[in-house]
């Protein structure tokens, strides 16, 4: 993530005073185009939310918090995000370390496996999950297997969504952690720590994790953004986390749903800011 890596400072620009104007002009143009691309839809959305027959009104924003289902769906999404982040990191990081240290030849295999969810369309993915979840013949009704399937689909906290999101998040988490692992000499650090008497868990949490802070923060943020915006899987499995709720509310209260979208955008930005501050290296 570009936002997490400090940009190189153009300290030598002043050495060529004649030439610096032109690149600067282009920079402004590119920035302006990008800004237009992002800001126009947002401004239009904002306009829509405050447009009122009487003129200007912030009522839509006031209604967000009282809208039925807002708090529960948002909390569900956040809880799903936290659980997904925990599971995907606990799964991916040890696996990537093990492959790097013990079986470097398997790295391409791991990379392909982790990238696969990008290739498989979510609709295919969810169709498969749905089929599996519907499998439940009567005679299995009293078995722990059946009860597990039921528990996975508990609407208060659908574990099945966590499992699905872990798969969907893998490509991003893999990329982010891979970049972080490339930046440090993992093998030497691990061996140095082992040589100092550290057990494997100690190596993991005292050596690897602190030195992968920004990569872990990046992976967490991407996962969070994915879970907060995921619609297809949740909708087709009939759960109601935040994105599904936004679509639901838009049917009855169009202005509120757009206001909520802008609100969630703001929320995501705040989280990004927090993550990039937390992941920033000590100077």
């Amino acid at each position: 993530m570009a936002a997490l890596t400090p940009a190189p400072i153009a300290g030598n620009a002043s050495s060529a005073p004649g030439r610096k104007e032109r690149p600067r002009a282009w920079r402004v143009v590119v920035l302006a185009l990008a800004a237009v691309y992002f800001l126009v839809p947002m401004a239009a959305s904002f306009w829509f939310t405050v447009d009122d027959p009487q003129g200007f009104s912030l009522d839509a924003y006031g209604q967000i918090f009282s809208a039925p289902g807002f708090a529960s769906s948002l909390l569900l999404s956040l809880a799903l995000a936290v659980a997904t982040i925990a599971v995907v990191l606990l799964l991916a990081l040890p696996a990537m370390l093990a492959v790097r240290l013990g079986a470097p030849r398997l790295r391409p295999v791991l990379e392909v496996v982790c990238t696969l969810p990008l290739v498989v369309p979510p609709i295919t993915f969810v169709a498969g999950i749905g089929t599996v979840l519907r499998f439940g013949p009567e005679y299995l009704a009293t078995t722990p297997f059946y009860q597990t399937i039921i528990a996975l689909q508990n609407p208060d906290f659908p574990v099945v969504l966590v499992l699905a999101y872990v798969v969907l998040a893998l490509p991003y988490v893999y990329r982010s952690l891979d970049a972080g692992l490339r930046a440090i000499d993992v093998r030497t650090l691990v061996e140095a720590a082992r040589n100092c008497g550290a057990s494997w868990p100690h190596v993991m949490f005292r050596v690897i994790v602190p030195n992968l802070r920004s990569a872990l923060a990046g992976a967490s943020f991407l996962t969070l953004a994915l879970v907060l915006g995921e619609f297809t899987v949740a909708r087709l499995l009939s759960f109601q986390p935040f994105p599904v709720w936004i679509v639901y509310i838009s049917g009855s209260q169009a202005q509120v749903s757009v206001a909520v979208s802008l609100f969630s955008l703001l929320l995501t930005w705040l989280v990004l800011l927090a993550v990039s501050l937390a992941g920033r290296n000590r100077s």
């Binding site: 030497t188 650090l189 061996e191 140095a192 720590a193 082992r194 100092c196 008497g197 030195n211 802070r213």
Partner: protein, 367 residues
């Protein structure tokens, strides 16, 4: 380095670090199709600095990693003071290691890096900080404790790494080409400091290097490895003067190859007959002669010509072309270099000492 062996608190820094005996017994290690160790037998005596020297791929680093526990031999055993530690995990071995690449933990400052092992052992914070400070003083860096690795120079980082390796008072110190990433000047200074430290602590040390000068200058004994086997282990002077094999002769120092004719225990080379060092041989051979054993004397009747001379202070190294076009290197006293300028004709003779002979040209010798 001027820091004393005792730290700030006055007590000896390493009481328990009386050196252990390290023994490698019949080590075999194979990586896919490559043989890294092919039955290596070697022992480092208590308190000794043993250098492992050899060309890249000779197995020296693999041998060291077997002692550290990062590599596991397919066959054979590693013993410390007679105890077989082959199956002991790396984090429970009594050996501190310094790595070739910079290995300090980037997220910890120098003091916490040194104290890392003490923290693993749950030593109280005040105690481990004091100990880390002592060790930093020991390696000549009393003021860098608060700095992070990226704020230290390469030489400083390696010194901190040495302090870290010594923090748990290991009985064996393992150095895996610790100086190879440093520039020449720092390398020379740090090399001497390592030796000084090692002597004062009396810790058994195994020093892996591909640099023969480094090995000869610091080690008590040097073990020359080739293709996973031990060629010779001896004190530096012995290694240089009495190499056991042509490979060692070639790898350690500079060697001239001169064609000669052997007949039993004598060999005739450039009209001079010299004793053969080793078993009797017959027929045409390569005679191996050090540059300092070549005597070049200015003479009008000489059949050889000086073609180049490089002055090195106390000596000058000449390149001398023989009548048949072959070239020899000869070291002469520096003050003779004026009389032996390029273009001067000389006679060439050899110091009358036993010489090594080899049947054919050698492979795999780099220097």
């Amino acid at each position: 380095m001027t820091a004393p062996v005792t730290g700030a608190t006055g007590e000896a820094v390493t009481e328990a670090a009386a050196g252990a005996r390290v023994e490698l017994r019949g080590l075999h290690r194979r990586f896919g199709g490559t043989v890294a160790l092919d039955g290596l037998d070697l022992a480092a005596e208590p308190g000794e600095l043993l250098a492992l020297l050899g060309p890249s791929g000779c197995g020296k680093t693999t041998a060291l990693r077997c002692v550290a526990g990062f590599e596991h031999p397919d066959e054979g055993a590693v013993l410390i003071d007679g105890r077989d530690i082959t199956g002991v995990p790396a984090n429970r071995r009594d050996a501190g290691m310094v790595f070739q690449s910079y290995s300090l933990f980037p997220n910890l400052n120098a003091r916490d890096n040194v104290a890392f092992g003490l923290r693993v052992r749950k030593v109280a914070a005040a105690k481990r900080h004091a100990r880390a400070q002592e060790l930093l003083e020991l390696v000549g860096l009393p003021t860098v404790g608060e700095r992070y690795p990226h704020q230290l120079s390469g030489g400083q980082q390696q010194r901190v790494a040495i302090a870290r390796a010594l923090a748990l008072e290991p009985r064996v110190l393992l150095l895996d080409e610790p100086l190879s990433a440093l520039d020449a000047k720092v390398r020379g200074a740090l090399r001497e400091e390592i030796r000084r430290l090692q002597l004062s602590l009396g810790i058994t040390t195994i020093f892996v290097t591909h640099d023969q000068e480094e090995a000869l200058s610091v080690a008590d004994r040097v073990a020359v490895l080739r293709a996973g086997r031990l060629e010779q282990v001896a004190a530096p002077a012995t290694l240089y003067d009495r190499p056991a094999t042509p490979f060692v002769a070639e790898f350690v120092g500079t060697m001239n190859h001169v064609p000669g004719a052997a007949s039993g225990e004598r060999v005739t080379v450039l009209g001079q007959t010299l004793p053969v060092d080793g078993p009797p041989v017959h027929g045409p051979v390569d005679v191996l002669v050090r540059p300092e054993a070549v005597l070049a004397t200015p003479s009008a009747e000489g059949t050889a010509t000086v073609v180049a001379s490089s002055f090195r202070g106390s000596i000058a190294r000449l390149r001398v072309q023989l009548a048949d076009g072959a070239e020899l290197l000869a070291d002469v006293p520096g003050h003779d270099s004026v009389r032996l300028a390029p273009g001067v004709t000389v006679t060439v003779a050899f110091v009358d000492r036993p010489v090594l002979v080899s049947a054919a040209d050698l492979e795999g010798a780099d220097s």
